[in-house]
Symmetry: C2
Subunit: 450 residues, 2 copies
């Protein structure tokens, strides 16, 4: 933890790899967390990373595979033979195994699964592969501990001990009936202090038990775990049969991706883009948004062209085009960001559209008045053209208010009709505001200079 | 969970409150999670909320207080007498109690603490209040279970049972020496299966134990817990004495705030703004960014003014000002967003500045070529002025490339000198790009029309 990875460390490691000094490498890395080893390997060349991989214990390398970035893992896994992959997959929990296999070609995937020695493990993985990765089924794992309601405490302890190797971290015991239907939960602490002869059905908790259906969306899972501060969550099928468990660490990524998704949309990036993505993926993902902006720019040019007469009469009008469009854009982005965040955190579930739009309108009016006064003041102070100053001040006010209202309304409306409101932020809102802003500006100019 | 809160439910509840039918209210709410009750109360009037609060059990209301949004809680707590607050605080865990008290006036806070009956609870809360809320000390609570290394397993179980009411969720037992120095951890599962006469010191785990110092930043805590998939994390003081425990649910908010912070910055919002914040707080928080944009707009007007001659000669040049500035802005925002996200997720810890900037340059060149060709093609197709088309195409290309490079470089450089790179996104980058873009546009025009 205090052990920051330094460039010197990397260089020392590279030297060891060059000298094929596997003893030194093992010694250097064996005390590190797999997550740190993954970081190190990702910053070396593929050949160097493979060398390290070959000289680490299988239990460690399996964990390292999981800690890789997805893009990197897909590349790295190609270096491994089917036999090597079978070894790695055997050492992984079902959900991690399914995640990695899910990224591979069907043929290769089937080959690896068929070669797994532990047939139960293999069938559990196959089962998990059926679920879409964005659902509860895609997040869950098969390693959980279930106790039958009719068991006594001492039998439960024996069974728990027997199954314990499978279950990485037991927080809660799930209590089921003879048909595996989820009845409730039992904390480990409760079990620890119970009379050995007591029946589980007399001590377990069946009130307000949180669970999800296997086909529930990943975001719904994240929401429930967050809202109710849960560390693990049981997953049931349509018959309410217990089929898996989701732990909070699997959901952290969903929570972060959700937060990141809004930011990406607002910045005009489609697809799931990362800093490590290729130039081509970057370009493909970003171009559509730039083209929307470009189309907006062409539209804007036609509007200005329509008011060419005004510009001919007073060329200074052209000077303030960027000021108008930039301010409209900034205000719109702010309003939409606040609404999108509020929708994401369910801040105003009950307050309705009108109240939020009303508030944004008030904020817009305040900001608009201040901006207009400042611009009018500056223009007056430097002895600028009073008509120009008036035009800018009036249109700035109108543009700010309208941008604030639109910025708030569009995401709220999109959310109503079940479209991701974050779509309204970024390029769309700025482009719309550019066009509306320019129109207002020149219409005001038309009347002021009439 | 399946129980979505509906408007009908709220109206029924309001009717019960009007009729002062406290029995019905208790019946309706007693099975709900405190988090749901908090949502319901927040969507009622203050008087209605207070009525509900008065008719619920103290243990529930304390939890409800914690689930309120901070802004709402500060308002709601003002409705409660000192005696009522003493009752609520007694029912809360130390960290939650400290959070609520930390939001109150000093005088009121001291009064409440002095009236707490449980003096140990009072002194633990006082201790927590010393820490800044953005540090590990501010996140931790005092309810954890520690076992002395020299204890036997059976003594440990007895002590655990004795202290168990205090500790809401035991995941891990912290093992300390006689001076409370943290030695390692022991899982509950391990304890469950150990021989009752075995010494703790022989079965606990002291390898690769993660911990934080009490003065560590909240973001550092989140990073460690995320990276190593931890559910709880021990907190030590400067002498390595165990002083508290942080659980993952306390850190989820930090993780989300971190993610939200970048988005807020990129959208031009300072302070910690929420959808539920007041109009004044909204205006205060948003105005600075709008004023930056406004200053940029004034700067842009001066640049255009410097090229007034060009516009006079060819007024059509003015038409494409929004196209140039909007495209520069969009490209810059994309580049900076990707870099900021990459920095936040530590995606390119070792790859260095050059590689990222190089990649952004390539993306910029590709996007720039495509945009230029499209604009030149459209202009040609509609039989537009060839000189104008050339000017726009060349400057668009240059502007896109430079915006991509700047968008990548500025956050990387800010990060190097330890300034939050997200500052570079949003208004700053768009304003800078506006000015640079316009300059390029008119310089190109100057040479094309020479």
């Amino acid at each position: 933890m205090e052990n920051e990875l330094t460039r010197e460390f990397l260089e020392r490691l590279e030297l060891m790899i060059e000298n094929e000094d596997s003893m030194a490498i093992t010694k250097e890395l064996e005390d590190l967390h797999p997550s740190d080893i993954a970081d190190i390997m990702e910053s070396l060349s593929m050949a160097e990373a493979k060398f390290i991989f070959d000289h680490l214990d299988d239990e460690i390398t399996a964990e390292v595979l999981i800690e890789f970035d997805e893009d990197y893992r897909v590349k790295f896994v190609k270096l491994l033979s089917t036999e090597e992959m079978v070894g790695q997959i055997s050492n992984l929990e079902t959900d991690d195994a399914a995640d990695i296999l899910g990224e591979m070609e069907d043929e290769e995937k089937d080959e690896i699964i068929s070669q797994l020695e532990d047939k139960e493990h293999a069938s559990e993985i196959t089962d998990l592969l059926k679920y879409d990765e964005d659902t509860a089924g895609g997040l869950m794992h098969k390693e959980f501990f279930q106790a039958r309601a009719h068991w006594a405490v001492d039998r439960c302890v024996v069974e728990l001990r027997r199954q314990t190797e499978d279950v990485e971290r037991v927080y809660t015991i799930y209590v089921v009936d003879e048909n595996d239907i989820l009845l409730g939960i039992l904390s480990l602490k409760r079990l620890l202090f119970a009379d050995p002869k007591e029946k589980i059905e007399n001590i377990y908790n069946n009130e307000k038990i949180q669970f999800v259906k296997a086909h529930a969306k990943a975001e719904e899972v994240a929401e429930i775990m967050e809202k109710y501060d849960l560390v693990s969550l049981p997953v049931v099928d349509r018959q309410h049969k217990l089929v898996g468990r989701i732990t909070i660490d699997d959901v952290l990524d969903v929570i972060k991706e959700e937060a990141g998704k809004d930011y990406q949309m607002a910045s005009g990036i489609s697809e799931n883009l990362e800093a490590s993505s290729t130039v081509m993926k970057n370009t493909r993902s970003r171009l559509p948004w730039i083209l929307i902006g470009l189309a907006g720019g062409v539209g804007a040019s036609q509007i200005i062209k329509g008011y060419e007469v005004q510009i001919d009469l007073n060329p200074a009008l052209a000077f303030f085009i960027p000021l108008i469009v930039a301010t409209a854009g900034n205000v719109g982005v702010q309003s939409s960001a606040i609404i999108v965040q509020g929708l994401a955190s369910k801040d105003f579930q009950f307050q309705g559209l009108f109240r939020q739009v009303g508030k944004e309108t008030l904020v817009g009016i305040l900001v608009g008045i201040i901006c207009s006064l400042i611009i009018f003041g500056i223009n007056f102070a430097i002895g600028g053209d009073i008509l120009l100053g008036t035009t800018i001040a009036i249109s700035l006010f109108l543009v700010v208010v309208i941008a604030a209202i639109l910025g708030a309304m569009v995401p709220l409306l999109l959310d109503r009709i079940k479209i991701d409101p974050a779509l309204a932020t970024g390029p769309f809102i700025t482009t719309a505001n550019d066009i509306i802003g320019l129109t207002i500006y020149f219409v005001v100019a038309y009347f002021v200079y009439l």
